[in-house]
């Protein structure tokens, strides 16, 4: 038992160290790799907690495929992340600490880990163990729960994955050629650029919407953001035309 605890503590401290390294690291390549490491250590910890199925998934998805996908995404971006001021990291830290505190508040009343009499293990959980042997006759209760007892959940999860795929299909396209098409109104455009207001330069928001977002960036970035966003915020040429289809 005590060996287990030492192992668990060791793995948790590794996770903590890796997590901090990921936060502070600016080389994206290293970050991606460390995320893979994080997943792997996680998987090891799950094994130590006897959640073999979860560990398997974590290893396959977290350490395997998602690392590759992150790499593929990284190729499209800079290799280095911009320096993030500590001020901007305070908020995530606050949110983590607040959530953590809430969890700690609850810990006092949590059942002991592995307690056979805890509600999670005694009520429906125990029922699954009995019923699987009786109803389905397969040794792996996890599979029985996932695919049969709560099969509809898994259906939902499959759809979630499908929706993610569909999203990629919609936003990027499988051949990487999406995103060039531009929407345009079916009629005469009187918006933005062509409105007399815009010609007079009146009634334009003082700071363009994209630059508002950048209010917390350092000063010199702000001006750049303003420029680019204004050039982009402009409407495309609105050509009066018939039905787009």
């Amino acid at each position: 038992m005590s060996g287990h605890i030492i192992l668990d503590l060791g793995l948790i401290s590794m996770l903590l160290v890796i997590a901090f390294a990921i936060i502070r690291m600016r080389s994206l390549f290293a970050v991606v790799m460390l995320q893979g490491v994080y997943s792997l250590v996680c998987a090891a910890w799950f094994v130590s907690l006897d959640a073999v199925d979860v560990a398997f998934t974590e290893a396959a998805v977290g350490a395997g495929v998602s690392t590759v996908l992150m790499l593929a995404a990284m190729l499209l971006a800079d290799r280095q992340s911009d320096e993030v001021s500590l001020r901007r990291q305070i908020a995530p830290i606050i949110i983590v600490i607040a959530s953590g505190l809430m969890l700690f508040y609850a810990i006092g009343d949590m059942p002991i880990y592995g307690d056979a009499n805890s509600p999670a293990n005694s009520h429906v959980g125990a029922g699954y163990l009995d019923k699987t042997a009786k109803d389905i006759h397969i040794p792996n209760v996890v599979t029985a729960v996932l695919a049969s007892y709560r099969g509809f959940d898994t259906f939902g999860e499959t759809v979630v994955i499908f929706a993610a795929g569909l999203g990629v299909l919609l936003l990027l396209g499988l051949n990487g050629n999406a995103g060039k098409w531009q929407a345009c109104p079916n009629g005469v455009s009187i918006g933005l650029g062509q409105s007399p207001y815009a010609q007079l330069g009146e009634d334009q928001p003082k700071v363009s919407p994209k630059a508002e977002v950048a209010t917390n960036l350092p000063k010199e970035k702000k001006t750049i953001a303003k420029k680019t966003s204004q050039s982009k915020g402009r409407p495309r040429k609105a050509v009066p035309k018939g039905d787009v289809s």
């Binding site: 959530s99 809430m102 508040y105 609850a106 009343d109 949590m110 059942p111 509600p119 999670a120 293990n121 009520h123 429906v124 959980g125 029922g127 699954y128 019923k131 049969s148 007892y149 709560r150 099969g151 509809f152 959940d153 259906f155 939902g156 999860e157 759809v159 979630v160 499908f162 929706a163 993610a164 795929g165 569909l166 999203g167 299909l169 919609l170 936003l171 999406a178 995103g179 098409w181 531009q182 929407a183 345009c184 109104p185 079916n186 009629g187 005469v188 455009s189 009187i190 918006g191 933005l192 062509q194 409105s195 007399p196 009634d203 919407p209 994209k210 982009k232 915020g233 409407p235 289809s245």
Partner: protein, 513 residues
């Protein structure tokens, strides 16, 4: 009910599942369907069937009370249970009916806003989103809620991002939404996890029983409750957690904005009602504290704050988005009274606001469709260039303000009465004040549209260019509905009353006052 006897018995037993499964499967089919026309037709048919399903379910609920469906044939605490009752049936009907109404409008709107070869998949994402919302509402299993929350969320992020062919800022908005939405979903699932730890079950009814037996449960359940409230708060745009909403509504394609504005936050609100009043309930002191104080304060601040913010927006869709946040405040205010009349008012407004905001966004979408405009300043002379659209906008706008004989008045009157009965005279003042603010932000748009002359292009005044009939029909349906409810609100109030009775059982009335 006579209608029920005419329907095939199979539909009566399996309709509950069909409601969710059909759009999910159709959504999957959209990935491989090449033709936009076919995709639209299938989507439309599917949602129509869903609406009829929801209608039969609603009738059945009136007839028989709670309906239950055992997914996979397993008994509830073990398998997943689907439940339709007086609380969920109207929301189901609302979501599916709004989907059908939006789809009328989609066929021209999507053509103008979405890349041709992506349109089929776009409808697919829409179907999945609708199915997710329906699933969230119809399920009786806490974890299944999370699954469908994710189904709807993921597809919503995609749908919002599809606005990028109109405005690149849509991508940023979708990203914001993704991050905040994921935090919300994570909080929610942490809450569910805690509840499972406390009760050992995921079935809502079972959970409620066990929690009652534990007299509210230990700190684990309490913390779980806090996480669920905040997680859902993010999803339903409770006031300071609303930051994702304006961007998402302002930059998504019109069709998506309409659907989201009228259904997405409503489904999350439904979940809050479901969790706070039936799984937890008012016999637990901490629930009473959170709802009657925390939520009350946020609701009131949100009503005023978001309304003021709406006044200062230059983009009409942002105005309406902030107004949505304020309206969520109204709904939460009614909820926080913890009285039957308060909940009834809340539920009435939940339904009415969907119609009102849907109508407004429909009109705004049509204006973009014709003239490419969304800013308040560009609305000049729209009463002359698009009279019918502007009239529909006006009706819905008046309804939003709460002018008598419109749906908005009904819900605000209900809410004010509930506040009065609760002894919150000041809340009546806040409702009134917020309505005045609504008057200002809607009036600002109406003034530009009615009192200024249409703009000129190359010296020629823009001519009348009314939206196509297929876009006018849905917005007028909603506008007329708004008036119909304003004149005869009985059916909505009755439905809301039944839902409220479900939320506060008789022995619970007066608890927490």
């Amino acid at each position: 009910m006579d209608i029920l006897s005419l329907l095939p018995p199979w539909l009566l037993t399996h309709g509950v599942a069909l409601l969710v499964v059909l759009p999910l499967l159709a959504g999957a089919a959209m990935a491989v369907i090449p033709r936009e026309r076919i995709a639209w037709t299938i989507t439309f048919m599917v949602m129509l069937i869903c609406m009829l399903c929801a209608l039969t379910l609603a009738l059945q609920v009136i007839d028989q009370g709670r309906l239950s469906y055992k997914m996979g044939g397993w008994e509830p605490p073990y398998g997943i249970e689907y439940v339709v009752d007086a609380l969920s049936a109207p929301v189901l009907l609302l979501i599916s009916a709004m989907a059908v109404i939006c789809l009328f409008y989609a066929s021209p709107s999507v053509k103008a806003e979405v890349e041709p070869k992506k349109r089929a998949a776009f409808y697919g994402a829409f179907l999945i989103c609708a199915a997710g919302l329906l699933g969230m509402v119809v399920t009786g299993d806490a974890f299944n809620v999370f699954v469908f929350l994710e189904v709807s969320s993921i597809s919503t992020y995609v749908l919002v991002a599809m606005g990028h062919s109109r405005d690149r800022r849509a991508l940023r908005a979708a990203y914001d939404y993704l991050i905040l939405g994921s935090i919300g979903a994570t909080f929610f699932v942490i809450g569910i996890g805690f509840l499972y730890m406390e009760t050992g079950t995921l079935n809502m009814a079972d959970m409620s029983n066990i929690l009652d037996g534990l007299d509210g449960g230990s700190r684990v359940a309490q913390v779980g409750f806090a996480f669920i409230v905040i997680g859902l708060g993010l999803k339903l745009a409770m006031f300071p957690l609303h930051m994702w909403l304006p961007g998402a509504y302002a930059h998504a394609p019109s069709f998506v904005t309409i659907f989201l504005a009228s259904t997405a936050t409503k489904a999350a609100l439904y979940l809050l009602l479901r969790f706070a009043f039936t799984i937890f309930d008012l016999s637990f002191d901490y629930v009473v504290t959170i709802l009657s104080q925390f939520v009350l304060v946020l609701a009131v601040v949100g009503m005023v704050f978001a309304s003021i913010q709406a006044i200062f927006q230059t983009d009409v869709r942002r105005v309406l988005a902030f107004s949505s946040i304020a309206q969520v405040g109204y709904i939460l205010l009614g909820l926080s009274f913890l009285t039957l009349s308060g909940l009834t008012a809340s539920y009435v407004h939940l339904i009415n606001h969907a119609f009102i905001k849907g109508g407004l966004f429909l009109a705004v979408g049509a204006m973009w469709y014709r003239f490419g405009i969304t800013r308040v300043a560009d609305f000049r002379g729209l009463s002359k260039t698009m009279p019918w659209t502007m009239s529909a906008f006006t009706i819905s706008g008046l309804s939003l303000i709460g002018v008598p004989l419109t749906a908005g008045f009904v819900s605000k009157l209900q809410l004010a009465t509930a506040a009065w009965e609760r002894g919150y005279g000041w809340a009546v003042g806040v409702i009134l004040f917020s309505s005045i603010l609504a008057l200002v932000y809607i009036g600002r748009i109406l003034r530009v549209a009615y009192f200024e002359t249409p703009p000129q292009i190359n010296g020629v005044e823009v001519l009348k260019n009314e939206a196509p009939l297929i876009m006018l029909i849905p917005m007028w349906i909603l506008a007329i509905l708004s008036i119909v409810i304003g004149i005869n609100a009985g059916w909505v109030v009755d439905a809301a009353g039944r839902a409220a009775e479900l939320l506060i059982p008789t022995q619970m009335i007066g608890r927490g006052l």
